[in-house]
């Protein structure tokens, strides 16, 4: 891990007074442990050079936009939000000047309202549902309005939620990403003790380490985690790899119920000659490096990203932002077949990203022990290599965005819990086949968005609460 503080198994300690004072000076109060304290991130992180691709709205803009909202009933935008935020209501509260109430509406539905406002693919979610689209008029900028409100809530430390009276029950949450954190927050509102176990050192999962810095930076993601933990009573154990460092039985013995929110695994690799060369990295791993620390791309003029999904589209845009002059996306299908969002890929093209469609790498090219390019072959309509259509693409950096590993062995020792295609099988409440074990987020949905992880974590928390309350009253 890249966190400046090593060591495993630390329970969070309170940040020292000096750091708190510094944090207050920059307008926010963080008083959580090292693994959520943004002040402990290195200042010269490469991600710090990125601006917001969708900049914050000022008060006048927010008011004008809020006043445009039609305050729809049974609003289609709400139906498209996985956490069902009452969008017309929070927007109306902006227009009446009730900003605190607006933030309450958002955060009550989605405690990660701040990062969702920035990282959600709103074009295909709420904004895509806005009725203005039906009028061929610009839809309401729901994400930017949500950011306007939640930025203020975090900056001013407006707090709405308190822990419920102690239930005497405890829940262990495996993984410290948005799914587990949302679940823990909801469980605390209902008085259940919570402990989060995370294999890494920075909480927030991919929301902290993975999303593009022009949407959300790691320090802001951590500030939000601190805000979520602010409800109190959520113990965090970091650097603990469940299933390896601590077994499932031990965990089940410690807690009345478990929530699994471990996300997806590491980047998949291409098993072709040269795979050990320097200059080849998994896209997710590379992104984490420049978000949490500094990457040196001094010798890199040309970079190739292999893949056609959203991680690939993020990676190419990020490489452009990091100053690589020639960035190419290399994909075995074509533009129509790629799974990355159209609006993101369009933006990438405008930024000058090139593409190689129907192309498959067959080997890495080496120079001085480093990667110098990719040997490729064109694929025919039947996805088979075309004889004689081989060529080389020069590149000093190759990132692989061909998917992340699914859960394999991890849950092997957990009775009743079943996998299908590498994801945990859960019902509509997030319950697995083991009555004490629930799951949600990427590990159960196969990899969606932060907002889905939050919705699923919250949904499972409500089911866990029902189960614990029912068993308590027996």
């Amino acid at each position: 891990m890249l966190g400046p503080r090593g060591g495993g198994g630390v329970r969070w300690t309170r940040t020292g007074p000096a750091a708190r004072k510094a944090a207050r000076a920059c307008g926010r109060v963080y008083d959580r442990g090292p693994m959520v304290d943004p002040l402990n991130l290195p200042e010269d992180r490469s991600e710090a050079g990125f601006g917001d691709y969708k900049p914050a709205l000022g008060p006048a803009q927010a008011l004008a936009e809020a006043n445009r909202c039609l305050y729809c009933a049974d609003a289609p935008c709400v139906q498209k939000c996985p956490t069902a935020i009452d969008i017309p209501e929070f927007i109306r509260k902006i227009s009446t000047g009730n900003l605190k109430g607006s933030a309450r509406t958002i955060l009550d539905a989605n405690i990660f309202g701040m990062s969702c406002a920035r990282v959600c693919p709103v074009e295909v979610l709420c904004v895509g549902g806005c009725v203005y689209n039906e009028m061929d008029a610009p839809p309401i900028a729901i994400g930017r309005l949500q950011r306007y409100v939640t930025d203020a809530a975090l900056a001013e430390d407006w707090r709405y939620f308190t822990a419920g009276p102690a239930s005497g029950r405890s829940v262990g949450l495996v993984g410290g990403g948005p799914a587990s954190l949302a679940a823990a927050h909801e469980l605390r509102r209902r008085g259940h003790a919570c402990t989060i176990y995370d294999a890494g050192h920075w909480l927030g999962g991919l929301n902290t380490t993975g999303v593009a810095p022009y949407k959300l930076r790691a320090d802001d993601a951590l500030a939000e985690v601190a805000y979520v933990l602010g409800i109190g009573g959520i113990a965090v154990e970091s650097g603990v790899h469940i299933g390896r460092d601590v077994g499932w039985d031990a965990l089940l013995a410690r807690h009345d119920a478990l929530f699994i929110g471990v996300g997806l695994g590491a980047d998949r690799v291409l098993d072709i000659p040269g795979k050990q060369l320097a200059g080849i990295d998994g896209a997710v791993a590379f992104i984490e490096k420049f978000k949490l620390g500094r990457v040196d791309l001094g010798g890199v003029k040309r970079a190739v990203v292999v893949g056609g999904g959203n991680t690939a589209v993020d990676a190419v845009r990020e490489l452009v932002g990091l100053g690589v002059s020639e960035v190419t996306m290399l994909y075995r299908g074509d533009e129509a077949a790629m799974s990355g969002y159209e609006h993101e890929w369009k933006a990438a093209k405008i930024e000058g990203v090139r593409s190689l469609w129907h192309t498959q790498p067959t080997a890495y090219v080496e120079r001085d022990g480093r990667v110098a390019g990719l040997r490729c072959v064109k694929l025919g309509a039947d996805k088979r290599p075309l004889a004689g259509e081989e060529f080389e693409v020069p590149a000093e950096l190759v990132l692989l965005a061909i998917g992340q590993a699914r859960l394999g062995e991890l849950v092997a020792g957990l009775g009743g819990v079943q996998l299908e295609g590498g994801r945990l099988i859960v019902d509509a409440d997030g319950a697995t086949g083991n009555p004490r074990v629930y799951a949600g987020g990427d590990c159960a949905n196969g990899g969606k968005e932060v907002v889905n992880a939050v919705a699923e974590g919250k949904r499972a928390a409500l089911a866990i609460d029902r189960a614990l309350t029912a068993s308590a009253s027996k």
């Binding site: 049974d74 289609p76 227009s95």
Partner: protein
Amino acid sequence: MAFGTSVDLTSNTGGIVTPNPFWLASAPPANSGGQIMRAFDAGWGGAVWKTLGTPIQNVSSRFGALHFKGTRAIGFNNIELITDRPLEVNFREIAEVKKRYPKHGVIVSLMVETRDEWRDMIKRSIDAGADGLELNFGCPHGMCERGMGSAVGQEPALNEKITSWAVEFSTIPVLVKLTPNVDHINPHGLAAKRGGAHGVSLINTIKSLIAVDIDRFVPEPRVAGLSTNGGYCGAAVKPIAMHMIGSLARDPDFGLPISGIGGVANWRDAVEFILLGCSSVQVCTEVMLRGYRVVGDMIEGLTEYMRSHGFSTIEEMRGKAVPQFSEWGELDLNYETVAKIDPDKCIGCHACVVACHDGAHQCIHPAPKAAGTRVPVVDESECVGCNLCQIVCPVPDCITMAAVDNGFKPATWNEFQSEGKPLRPKKGAH
């Protein structure tokens, strides 16, 4: 389209002839000669000079406004009084304007107390070249406490007496500016008529308290630690103005020319005023907020409207809506409409659904899930035809109110009372 129709905008209000019917109302935009000349250059046909009388001392602040959902000043309020400039200066400037703009209308608004004062002020106005006089019987604040303004306008006998003085002293047309701060406008219009007025202008501002500063606990506009009632005007007062204008226009005993004032902000408003019987319209707030330049669109819009409707003079269109402004007892109770939604235009916002459910008769429903559409369904057997849904729908022409043939012959309340004509069964009354 009668595209060829040539249009003449010349307006005649009780003998005051102006190149077009757009006048500045007596207010800050018509405060000085320099301003009025700029207004004439911009296209205004006439101006009613800021009311002259014994110059007063004004307060700070003087104005307040009603802002609504991001639109500033849909209603406006003021506590300023009549002119604060020396009379000699005003009269000198009137003479200068008239000399340089002989074809434009300069109407001098007056407010004084005694017969002698009226005589003197009228003479000075005429000597300066005024085309007409407007007697300010309308100001609802400050002046009325001194026995002038609305104190006169609210008292028909006083109104008639002072009007008759003015008519006696004047060789030019006299308009009486009426106050809306009365329970019924007609007696006041008729008093002006008895006094011999050549026309009336209305409305002046409406008594109002526009806002309260919720942190200081002081109403606005705040003058140090206090406030007082003001006069309300601007777009929001147009319905009140039109009601009063319409009441006078349809009164067979009245029949005087009307210069309409109150909430005129664009050519459409002007068209409505003229259709209700006005010969000219006066504008204050819209000019205060946006400047003299708004008249360009007013002239062009009115001209195009007249052309497209085949009117070649203001007189041809004037009062066209008056006969249709009637009484409740004359309305056909058997006329039935229902709301119809155009599914191609509907954007599925369900604004009509909530409005009908919470504010009307619970008869617009979301389409059943299986229908796979967000276009709501109107239960026509329950729709009372109130048209609330049409009002809330954000899409132009998406909801229309369609007439239904229910087999009943027209029957008014009056006819039902006097002749027992059959009425259709009530809808939605259960």
